[in-house]
């Protein structure tokens, strides 16, 4: 089952995407952000909270002078390590208690700071590698079922209830569990601390919550005889810190889009691009698969019209991710089944779009999102729409399959909703497992013409973005009809121009061109 579409056009799209991200890369490498610096501190072992529950990484970065920030938080922190002889963990505890201020050590030579951090940098990287190796060994011993990998969300607000729901979902066939975050966490410029039992529309992403869910999934994975993946969200203002915590706690996937926060959460674009780059370098190193958020273009606007924008965003996300050192096998590009169910031949368009992505990004683990926009209180019809979504997914060999819920428009899923949804997906995917291998598209038929049309319009869109420049294009509302200015939005004050002697001991190793890789 292959679409005959213009291969030269695909090559041109890829070249255009690369040309679009290149100038942004120049901006990225000249800047850092408060969240990147806090991530560096977390990697070094800084954790915990101080007065008013402010996380220690925030306490430290907030207390730096602009000049110190521009040189990187690691340098200021390393000086304190050198002078006190304390390891990062006890040192951050002492800072939380107010026993030390980093400004006390400003006169310590840079070289001493770098030297004293070296063992901690190596230990952090070794730890992340060990978590990656651990995942590989588990996957070897407890292999997953064939894709589409069934992915469900848990979102009770209480990590312990989430754990119950996740275990039940795994027993019903789920292979990936995503813990949805509390609504609004993407706009917090800090990561909450400790296990949490209250949240709205989801559960706070904290390192302790990651650990609780990881342990539960490892346990049920052993019982089920297959490894269960854990997903969270590296989006919003704390992307790099979430990527850090995910690396340390062996999460397997992270939602991480290059433009989602800019367009849909009004987060400053410069902040997002810089944060995204560091996050993705770290994701690459930790073996974490990113899931990009193209589904959002479809939930906010017409899915038929927006198809070229989805494809364009997939090209751009891939280009950014590759430049951060991610192999295609870790780039889970997004798409969604969001065409109006009342549209005649809508199913054909869905198949065209899904198959087009499959052919253009053959090595990427595509992330297929379920219908949400046209789901209503009619749970019976909703279950049917989900069935066609499941069929499209297995036919076109999508990799990561977010199971649609019949109660999508009503509430965060009940335990029983998840079981029904998984049953729907398992039935369809089993009964139609090799359907896609048995059929061919009619040459020049509706599906093939639709796919070619989407590709042609995508190329035109990328061409105009390339000539405008990505930042200007976003400012001109080219994507999702949303207009964002380069210096507007949340978190812009956390973007910092790097000093010539900026120091980030992790970036030196994580950079795709670093000798260590």
């Amino acid at each position: 089952m292959q679409l005959d579409v213009d291969r030269n056009s695909i090559d041109r799209c890829r070249a255009l995407a690369s040309a679009i991200v290149a100038p942004v890369e120049a901006f990225i490498s000249a800047h850092t952000t408060v969240s990147v610096e806090r991530a560096v501190l977390r990697l070094l072992g800084v954790d915990g909270i101080g007065s008013e529950e402010i996380p220690v990484p925030n306490l430290i970065v907030d207390a730096l002078t602009p000049h110190e920030r521009a040189r990187g938080a690691a340098l200021a922190f390393g000086k304190a390590v050198a002078e006190t002889g304390l390891d990062p963990a006890p040192l951050s505890e002492a800072i939380a208690l107010g026993r030390y201020r980093l400004s006390d050590f400003a006169d310590t030579p840079d070289e001493a700071a770098r030297r004293s951090l070296q063992p901690h940098v190596e230990a952090a990287l070794a730890h992340i590698r060990s978590r990656r190796d651990e995942r590989a060994a588990l996957l070897e011993r407890l292999p997953q079922l064939p894709p589409p990998l069934l992915y469900v969300i848990v979102a009770s607000g209480n990590i312990y209830e989430d754990r119950t729901a996740a275990v039940a979902a795994v027993e019903a066939g789920a292979q990936i569990i995503a813990v949805i975050r509390s609504t609004g966490q993407s706009l917090l410029d800090f990561v909450p601390f400790g296990p949490t039992t209250e949240g709205f529309g989801g559960t706070y992403a904290t390192q302790a919550n990651f650990r609780i869910m990881r342990a539960a999934l490892d346990e049920i994975g052993e019982k089920a005889g297959r490894y269960v993946m854990l997903t969270n969200y590296a989006s919003g203002l704390c992307m790099p810190e979430i990527a850090t915590m995910a690396a340390l706690e062996r999460l397997d996937m992270l939602l991480n889009d290059s433009m989602y926060g800019i367009l849909f959460r009004d987060i400053n674009m410069k902040r997002t691009f810089v944060d995204q780059h560091f996050s993705r370098m770290l994701n690459a190193y930790s073996g974490i698969v990113i899931n990009t958020g193209e589904d959002n273009y479809l939930t906010t606007a017409d899915a038929v019209e927006q198809a070229p924008a989805v494809l364009a965003s997939q090209f751009i996300n891939q280009a950014f991710a590759r430049r951060a050192g991610m192999p295609d096998s870790q780039i889970g590009l997004g798409d969604a089944y969001e065409i109006d169910p009342d549209l005649e031949d809508g199913f054909l368009y869905q198949v065209a779009q899904a198959q087009l992505a499959r052919q253009i990004f053959p090595e990427c683990p595509l992330k297929y999102m379920p219908p949400t926009k046209h789901m209503t209180g009619d749970v019976f019809k909703g279950h049917l729409i989900d069935a066609l979504f499941n069929l499209t997914s297995v036919m076109t060999k999508q990799t990561i399959h977010l199971c649609g819920m019949l109660t999508e428009a009503i509430h965060t899923p009940f335990l029983g909703d998840r079981a029904l949804s998984l049953e729907n997906a398992r039935y369809i995917m089993n009964t139609a497992r090799h359907f896609g291998d048995e059929i061919a598209f009619k040459p020049g038929g509706t599906i093939e013409r639709r796919a070619q049309d989407v590709l042609t319009r995508c190329e035109r869109l990328l061409d105009s973005v390339a000539s405008m420049g990505l930042m200007h294009a976003i400012d001109a509302a080219v994507f999702a009809d949303v207009k964002r200015s380069p210096d507007g939005g949340r978190g812009f004050d956390g973007v910092i121009e790097r000093a010539p002697d900026y120091y980030n001991p992790f970036e030196e190793v994580l950079r795709p061109d670093a000798a260590a890789r």
Binding site: A168, S182, G201
Partner: protein, 247 residues
């Protein structure tokens, strides 16, 4: 004249309903019986557990058919609709031009921590919903979409500074009553600021009903499937009536 009705299965007044639910017990025949007794305790008769099975360790799912002995007199039910005033965009614009004679200032937002703008966007964005243009496209409306996660304080401040005529608050997330809490906060703050009578206050969201809105002190509530022109017509008519009364 009362008009009592019961659910209709395949015969008048058979009272047939279907239920489905999960019980936190492993499946067994006793679990099926537990489900049956539970539904009987709800007051249903002829309870038939048509499907019962384990969906996870310690959890079973049931599908049940039963009959209710209850009925309801539909003639006594009051649930006034705010969607009754039918006017399309051109009619609303003409109405505002004639009866109000100046642009109507409208502000909308998804309030509290809710980030789901799908509802408010459907009503406000130029493009609209189901082929019905959004309020931004109305010539006689000056429409401000403040977006998602707007604090109630900020919305009220905006309303005050811009002398807004109509406020639209949207909530999609309803977990643990967060929607009602946020709607209430907004109504109370407007009251405290002495602005309540100056604005047409509207709430919207998939779980919102007009009845609930009036209980919360709103002028109207719009639920699933609402078209932008229905909201526009309500705002125009209500505002015109209010201005006529106060002049």
């Amino acid at each position: 004249m009362s008009h009592a009705v019961k659910p209709y299965g395949d015969t008048a007044n058979d009272g047939k309903v279907q239920l489905s639910f999960t019980l936190p017990v492993p499946w067994s025949e006793a679990a099926d019986e537990a489900a049956r007794q539970l539904v009987a305790k709800m007051g249903f008769t002829d309870v038939s557990v048509v499907d019962g099975r384990q969906i996870a360790t310690g959890f079973s799912f049931f599908v049940v058919y039963a009959s209710t002995t209850q009925s309801v007199d539909v003639d006594t039910i009051k649930a006034p609709s705010a969607r009754a005033t039918a006017m399309d965009m051109d009619a609303v614009d003409a109405f505002v031009a004639e009866r109000i004679g100046r642009k109507v200032r409208i502000a909308g937002a998804c309030i509290g921590t809710d980030a789901h703008t799908v509802g408010i966007d459907a009503i406000l964005n130029m493009k609209g919903y189901k082929g019905d243009y959004g309020l931004e496209r109305y010539h006689w409306f000056e429409t401000h979409n403040l977006g998602s996660q707007v604090a109630v304080d900020d919305l009220v401040r905006f309303a005050k500074e811009r002398r807004v005529d109509a406020l639209l608050a949207s909530q999609v997330v309803t977990q643990k009553g967060s929607d009602v809490k946020n709607f209430t906060e907004l109504a109370e703050l407007l009251e405290a600021e002495g602005l309540r009578d100056r604005v047409v206050l509207i709430c919207g969201g998939p779980r919102v009903t007009n009845l609930m809105a009036s209980e919360l002190g709103y002028d109207a509530g719009f639920g699933r499937g609402t078209l932008p022109s229905e909201v526009a017509a309500f705002v125009a008519v209500t505002l015109a009536e209010r201005l006529a009364r106060s002049s």
